[in-house]
C-alpha cells in the first residue's frame, strides 16, 4: 500500500493540511500540542474508518470556532490499483466513501501498557487484530461479551438467578470461537515476537504462554468449555460472575522465569512492547497480503539507539511506508526521510538546520 496524498480540512486543530508523504519514511516535526498526532489520526480515520484515540466522530470537530465540516481525502496505490479514500462529517452525519480498509500499525507511548498494564491491554490487541480481518470474530466477541454481561447480572440479582444458565449456550458457542481464533493468532505472533526481542535485547530470550481465563489449560471444544464452567459452579454462585471465559484471558511474558509484566525492568518492558507491535506488523502483512502503513507517534524519543534502529530496520527499511512524529529532527542517514514541520495546525517543509544535531544510529 502506498499513500500518495492526504488532504485534511477542519480536523481538530488542522484547518487545511495537505501532505505528500515519502514512499518510505516521512518525519513530522513539531512541538507538543501543535497537531502532529492529529495528522496521524486523520490518516487512520481514512484508512481504517475509525480513530485510534476516540470512538466519537464528534471529537474530530475543530474547536474553538464556528462548526465547520470535517473533510478528509487521500489517494494512493494498492497493488496495481489507484485508490481514493474520503471521509466527511458535519456534526450530524458521517460519510465514508470509496477505498478499502487497509492495515495500519500505530506505535504510541500507550503501547507500553502491553508490557506492563492489565491483561485487558493484551486481550485488546488480539481482539483488534482479529476484528480487522475476521468479521465473524468481531460479531462473536460482541455477542459473547453481551451474553456474559447478561449472565453476570442474572447471577447478581436474587430474583433472576434462575435465568443465568439460559445465557450459557450463547456464551459457550461464541466464547469457543473467540478462543479458537485467539489461540491461533497467539501461536502465530509468538515466534516473531521472540525473534525480535532477542535481536534487540541481545542475550535475553523471552518466552510467553497463553493463559486461558479461569482454566489451567486451553479450552478447545464446546464440551470442554461446559465442563470447565461446571467445575467452577460453586465459585460462580459465591462470586456472582462468570469465571471461565475469554473475558479473563491473559498472556504471560517471562524472561528467565520472571514475569516481565510484574517484575520486568523498564528496558525489558519497552523492548517487549516494541517486539509485540513489530510482530503484529509482520502478522498483518502476512495475513492480509498488504504491507501495512506504519505510524510511530512520539515513540522514537523514548527509545534508545538500539531499539530505534530495530524499529526502523523492521519497517521503513523493509518496505513499509512509515510516518514518524518527533519533537526534533533526527539523522536517519540512508533512509533519507521527507521532513515536514507542524506548527499551530499548519504543515510546511522543514526549514531548520539541514544537518540535524541529534545523531542516531542511522
Amino acid at each position: 500500500m502506498q499513500l500518495q496524498r492526504v488532504g485534511i480540512r477542519g480536523f481538530r486543530n488542522l484547518r487545511e493540511v495537505s501532505l505528500e508523504p515519502s514512499a518510505s519514511l516521512t518525519l513530522l516535526v513539531g512541538q507538543n500540542g501543535h497537531g502532529k498526532t492529529n495528522i496521524l489520526e486523520a490518516v487512520h480515520v481514512l484508512l481504517q474508518g475509525q480513530s485510534f484515540r476516540t470512538r466519537r466522530d464528534r471529537d474530530y470537530l475543530a474547536d474553538p470556532g464556528p462548526p465547520a465540516p470535517v473533510v478528509l481525502t487521500a489517494a494512493g496505490r494498492l497493488g496495481q490499483r489507484d485508490i481514493t479514500w474520503s471521509y466527511m462529517y458535519d456534526g450530524q452525519t458521517r460519510r465514508r466513501r470509496q477505498g478499502p480498509i487497509v492495515p495500519v500499525v500505530v506505535f504510541s507511548p500507550d503501547d507500553l501498557e502491553l508490557a506492563r498494564g492489565a491483561p485487558s491491554a493484551r486481550r485488546h490487541l488480539l481482539d483488534h487484530l482479529l476484528s480487522g480481518v475476521d468479521r465473524r470474530y468481531a460479531r462473536s466477541l460482541e455477542a459473547f461479551q453481551r451474553a456474559v454481561l447478561q449472565r453476570n447480572r442474572a447471577l447478581k440479582e436474587g430474583g433472576l438467578r434462575d435465568l443465568a444458565d439460559d445465557f450459557l449456550p450463547a456464551i459457550v458457542r461464541e466464547g469457543e470461537y473467540v478462543w479458537s481464533r485467539r489461540y491461533e493468532v497467539f501461536d502465530q505472533l509468538l515466534p516473531s515476537c521472540q525473534t525480535i526481542y532477542h535481536a534487540v535485547a541481545g542475550s535475553e530470550a523471552v518466552s510467553a504462554s497463553y493463559v486461558t481465563g479461569g482454566n489451567p489449560t486451553r479450552i478447545e471444544s464446546p464440551m470442554r468449555y461446559r465442563e470447565a464452567l461446571a467445575a467452577r459452579r460453586g465459585d460462580e454462585k459465591v462470586r456472582q460472575m462468570t469465571l471461565v471465559g475469554p473475558h479473563r484471558d491473559d498472556i504471560q511474558f517471562t524472561v528467565n522465569g520472571r514475569s516481565i509484566v510484574t517484575a520486568g525492568s523498564q528496558g525489558q518492558q519497552r523492548t517487549l512492547a516494541l517486539a509485540i507491535k513489530l510482530a503484529t506488523y509482520l502478522w498483518l502483512k502476512a495475513e492480509t497480503g498488504t504491507v501495512p502503513l506504519v505510524m510511530l507517534d512520539d515513540v522514537l524519543s523514548e527509545l534508545d539507539g538500539i531499539r530505534r534502529a530495530a524499529v526502523l530496520r523492521q519497517v521503513a527499511a523493509d518496505e513499509a511506508q512509515t510516518i514518524v512524529t518527533d519533537t526534533e529532527p533526527r539523522d536517519f542517514g540512508v533512509l533519507n526521510p521527507a521532513v515536514f514541520e507542524v506548527a499551530e495546525g499548519e504543515l510546511r517543509l522543514w526549514r531548520g538546520n539541514p544537518r540535524p544535531l541529534n545523531s542516531g544510529p542511522f
Binding site: Q150, D166, A170
Partner: protein
C-alpha cells in the same frame, strides 16, 4: 430566540417518540402547523381514540379493541396450538404468512437481566395459566433470534417441557432468495443443522 410556548410543548412531546430527535420533532411540529386545522385535530383524535379503546386481550395479550380479540374469538383458529411471540408486531408478521392457524401469546418483551427484565415483567404467568385452562397440545416458541430472544425461548422450554406438551422452536436459516456466499457463518451453521430431507 425561543418559540412560543405551545410550539415548544409540541416539539417537546414529539421528541419523546422513538427515533425522533429534536430536529425531526421541530420539522414535524411545523408540518402540523402548516396543514389545515382539521388534519391536526384528526391526528389528535386518532391518538386519543387509540389510547382509550385499545387494550390488551385478556387471553393472548395482543392489542385489541374488543376483549377477547378477534383472533382469540375466531372459531376457525386451532385452540390446540399456541405461538409465543415477543411483540404485537410479530403477530402481524406471522399472520401475513397465512400459514399459522393456531393462536398467539404476546410476552411484551424478552428476558434481559441487564435491563432488569425477568419473567415477572413478561406475560409468562399468564401463559402458564392459559395453558392450564386451554391445555393445548403444542406451544411454538417464536421469540426472536437475538441473545435475549434465545434465552427467553430456553427459559420457556425449561418451564413448559415438564407439563408434558409438545414444545417447538421456529427454525433459523437462510432468508428466501439469499445467496449462500453472502450469508454469515452463524446463520449457515443453523441452516445446516436444520436441514431436511427432500
Amino acid at each position: 430566540m425561543l418559540y412560543p410556548e405551545p410550539i415548544q410543548d409540541l416539539v417537546g412531546e414529539l421528541s419523546k417518540l422513538p427515533g425522533v430527535g429534536p430536529k425531526t420533532a421541530q420539522r414535524l411540529a411545523f408540518f402540523l402547523l402548516n396543514r389545515p386545522k382539521g388534519e391536526a385535530e384528526q391526528l389528535a383524535r386518532a391518538i386519543v381514540e387509540a389510547r382509550q379503546r385499545i387494550r390488551y386481550c385478556s387471553s393472548c395479550f395482543n392489542f385489541t379493541d374488543t376483549d377477547p380479540c378477534s383472533l382469540c374469538r375466531s372459531a376457525t383458529r386451532d385452540k390446540g396450538t399456541v405461538m409465543v411471540v415477543e411483540q404485537p408486531k410479530d403477530v402481524i408478521a406471522m399472520e401475513k404468512t397465512r400459514e399459522f392457524k393456531g393462536r398467539y401469546h404476546v410476552l411484551h418483551g424478552a428476558i434481559s437481566p441487564m435491563e432488569g427484565i425477568g419473567p415477572e415483567d413478561l406475560k409468562v404467568r399468564e401463559l402458564l395459566a392459559r395453558i392450564g385452562q386451554e391445555s393445548p397440545h403444542e406451544v411454538v416458541l417464536a421469540t426472536s433470534s437475538s441473545l435475549e430472544g434465545e434465552a427467553t425461548a430456553l427459559y420457556l422450554g425449561r418451564l413448559l417441557k415438564p407439563l408434558g406438551l409438545k414444545v417447538t422452536r421456529i427454525a433459523r436459516g437462510l432468508p428466501m432468495g439469499g445467496d449462500l456466499d453472502y450469508t454469515d457463518e452463524m446463520t449457515l451453521l443453523k441452516a445446516l443443522e436444520g436441514r431436511q430431507e427432500i
